[in-house]
Amino acid sequence: MKIVTKVLEGVADIQIFPIIGLIIFFTLFVALIIHVARMSREEVEEYSHLPLEDDNDKSNVHDQ
């Protein structure tokens, strides 16, 4: 245990850590919402069709 404590002993002002964490998360989350809201319809359409583009296996027949 001492090994670990020693490594961390140099860290000052740890009480500020949670606050920094909160600020980072909150800022990122807001930025994310803004980004997502501003995405264009075509862009969203294009991205969401990515898994369906490689359908060169003409293979829905396989299921039937």
């Binding site: 090994i3 961390l8 860290v11 997502v36």
Partner: protein, 712 residues
């Protein structure tokens, strides 16, 4: 635009598919075995490596890392190249990854049943295997990231974000939680001790659920549900928010596994708050998956693949609702240490992971073998067997959980425990264990049907090793006006680093204060290191997996203090490398087992007879016998090395104590053998059982008295 031609390699996908099925079957058969052992304690026939405590880690490791692990890699190796329009970066890395991973699984199967274990749930594997896991995991990550670098699409689809988060986080979790100090080739002690070890372990344990069982399967969901339903995901915007919110929040929630334990309250509160918040992204993901099927519900009625996906995603929704509920302290007070937890994790494993895997396999098989599925009827039968199997498994255990917990807590009008004898609460729920085993049998029958169906399909078809595709090179498509999140999406390495930062924040905020601030673990002067004999006994306790059925954590409730003795303090565990709080009470708590004034105290002769034949002492007990402890000689050649390692980890044995340790060990062993002789039991002092009895009778005594056995 010039089109480039390339081919997707299906051969590795096929190998991972086979491995998924093989290990799935093995892991679940071991699961059924341990379920039956709880009903028939003599089933293991006194063979050490068949006993519950040794097989249970094999079951959990096989299902998590072998079955789900290979399932993840099947999905990754199939979907990643197709989403990025490029073959996987390196065939060689892929092969090393495959064979390395299978070798790790085999080495787990060859060590866990023989008692080589660190003694931390889901992180049981010893240090050489841990090292191998690290290397193979890096090989996997390298292959994945380099494939992203080589891609021909500008945007990286959300499924791959989930794969990347999986790679990064599992790497961090595994390395931090597996920092162990080797004693010998297959024995090591964690550098952390007591509550700090507990915090690291459950940060790992919880996030193994999050980043091994959840995020990669969300990636799988975001790829295979749109494929199977042949329509795009319901909301791509939601998937972006889902991703970042989920990975950021998940990493904080670990402490909810330690509610009412001696972990500091601030850390428990942190775990609760983040667990409750987790409902939002989890349900966002579930809704996104289910609503992808809007307008396709007629297909769901007929297609076994979609049926399995729907039940899988619904199970995800149920367990991610249940998880936050179980994280509320008042609910956890009732649920913790009971079968409720077992039911909860099996909704996740059998429902979410199992059903998604089966759906994926049924979808992939006809495509890779270029033939119709052999029998849709059998696949439907499999669907019903798994669904009912899961319910027959989980519902009885919910009842068992409520029932037992309420019985533990019930007082008579006079203020005494209504069921002071633990065994009464076990007998009450035994019928539920029978139904659980039936549920497991149904589930496995389904898998056997699947194997038959897929073998028949394979025989009828012809494997397609390569699939041709074409796409323009990436540089042709550049627009050069990207900003914000789009920049991140187009830079895989930056994306990886940012995911790492997101998950590190939570870990650091929890760990640094926990390790730094002295008041988090108030020291208790009378708590002393274990004697050499007790230390050896403790290692036997770990080897036999006692912690899988017995906790060492009396929570601060009147019902528990009354039943077991004083509640456990953080300072009592400072020399516990690893901690042994446990997570399930199939048998009673042992934290105060050695305290003479405690209601659970038993003399050495009781323990001896109980290890030899539990049912002779407690007729209805479901504990298996441990006759080999009485037969085996204790290996004391390891004592000096163990003492030296403990000293390095900060346990205050005096200088040069390693040389005297075995003398003291023998002295204490003779005392215990002498006590046993007085009760009419003839046993040599150099048997393993003596060491285990020494350890058990030391538990919890330090804060009560200072006269435990041996010299301190």
């Amino acid at each position: 635009m010039e089109l480039q031609k390339f081919a997707y390699d299906n051969r590795l996908v096929r190998m991972f598919m086979y491995a998924t099925i093989l290990w799935g079957l093995v892991g679940m058969l071991v699961g059924l075995t341990v379920a039956l052992e709880l009903i028939f304690p003599h089933m293991s026939a006194s063979i050490p490596w068949l006993s519950f405590g040794r097989l249970r880690p094999l079951h959990t490791n096989a299902v998590i890392f072998a079955f789900v692990g290979n399932g993840i890699f099947t999905a990754v190796y199939y979907s990643t190249p197709r989403l990025l329009k490029t073959p996987m970066y390196s065939e060689l890395l892929g092969k090393i990854h495959f064979w390395g991973w299978q070798l790790i699984i085999v080495s787990a199967a060859l060590t866990l049943p023989f008692g080589y274990t660190v003694g931390k749930e889901y992180a049981e594997l010893e240090w050489p295997i841990d090292l191998a896991i690290t290397i193979i995991w890096v090989v996997f990550g390298l292959n994945l990231i380099m494939t992203m670098v080589n891609r021909r699409t500008k945007h990286i689809y959300v499924a791959i974000w989930f794969y990347i988060a999986t790679f990064v986080t599992v790497a961090v979790l595994h390395v931090v939680n597996s920092i162990n100090f080797p004693v010998s080739f297959l024995k090591s002690y964690p550098v952390y001790a007591g509550v700090q070890d507990a915090l690291v372990q459950w940060w790992y344990g919880h996030n193994a659920v999050a980043f091994f069982l959840t995020t990669p399967y969300l990636g799988l969901m975001y790829y295979f549900i749109p494929k199977a339903a042949n329509r795009p995901v319901y909301s791509y915007r939601l998937s972006i928010i889902h991703f970042w919110a989920l990975i950021f929040l998940y990493i904080w929630a670990g402490p909810h596994h330690l509610l009412y334990s001696s972990l500091p309250d601030w850390a428990q509160a942190l775990g609760v708050v983040f667990s409750v918040m987790l409902i939002a992204p989890s349900w966002g993901g579930m809704i996104n998956g289910l609503l992808t099927l809007r307008g396709a519900w007629d297909k769901v009625r007929e297609d076994p693949v979609l049926k399995m996906f729907v039940v899988g995603v619904t199970a995800y929704g149920m367990s991610t609702f249940e998880g936050p509920m179980l994280s509320l302290k008042s609910v956890n007070a009732l649920s913790h240490f009971t079968d409720w937890t077992i039911a909860h994790v099996h909704i996740g494993a059998l429902g979410w992971n199992g059903m998604l895997t089966f759906g994926m396999l049924y979808w992939l098989w006809p495509r890779l073998f270029n033939v119709k599925l052999y029998s849709r009827g059998l696949a439907n039968a499999h669907f019903w067997l798994s669904t009912t199997g899961m319910l027959f498994f989980a519902i009885p255990l919910y009842f068992a959980g409520f029932t037992q917990s309420l019985m533990w807590k019930e007082f008579t009008e006079e203020g005494f425990l209504k069921y002071p004898n633990f065994i009464e609460t076990v007998v009450q729920i035994l019928p539920m264990y029978y139904i659980r085993a039936l549920g497991g049998t149904l589930y496995i029958t389904g898998i056997l049907l699947m194997i038959y169906n897929l073998v028949k399909t394979t025989q009828a078809g012809k494997f397609i090793p390569f699939e041709e595709d074409q796409a323009p090179a990436l540089h042709v498509q550049h627009h050069g006006s990207d900003k914000g999140h789009r920049v991140i999406e187009s830079k895989p390495v930056l994306f990886t680093v940012l995911s790492l930062v997101a998950i590190l924040i939570g870990g650091i905020v929890e760990f640094v204060p926990m390790f730094m601030v002295k008041s988090n673990v108030p020291t208790i002067a009378s708590v002393k290191p274990y004697t050499p004999l007790e230390l050896q006994g403790r290692d036997i306790y770990l080897r036999e997996g006692c912690y899988l059925c017995h906790s060492q954590m009396v929570r601060p409730f009147r019902s528990e203090v009354e039943r077991y003795g004083d509640y456990t303090k953080a300072g009592e565990t400072v020399y516990d490398h690893p901690f042994q709080f446990g997570s399930k009470r199939t048998g009673p708590d042992l934290a105060r087992e050695g305290v003479k004034t405690s209601p659970v105290y038993k003399p050495a002769s009781w323990h001896y007879n109980h290890f030899l034949d539990p049912q002779r002492v407690v007729a209805q007990s479901i504990m298996p016998p441990y006759p080999w402890l009485i037969k085996n000689d204790l290996d004391i050649s390891t004592t000096p090395k163990k003492i030296r390692v403990m000293q390095k980890l900060g346990v205050p044995y005096p200088e040069g104590y390693d040389q005297k340790a075995n003398d003291e060990l023998m002295k204490q062993a003779r005392e215990i053998a002498g006590t046993l002789r007085q009760s009419g039991i003839e046993v040599s002092e150099n048997k393993e059982v003596i060491a285990l009895i020494a350890y058990i009778m030391r538990l919890g005594v330090d804060i009560h008295e200072n006269n435990s056995l041996g010299q301190k």
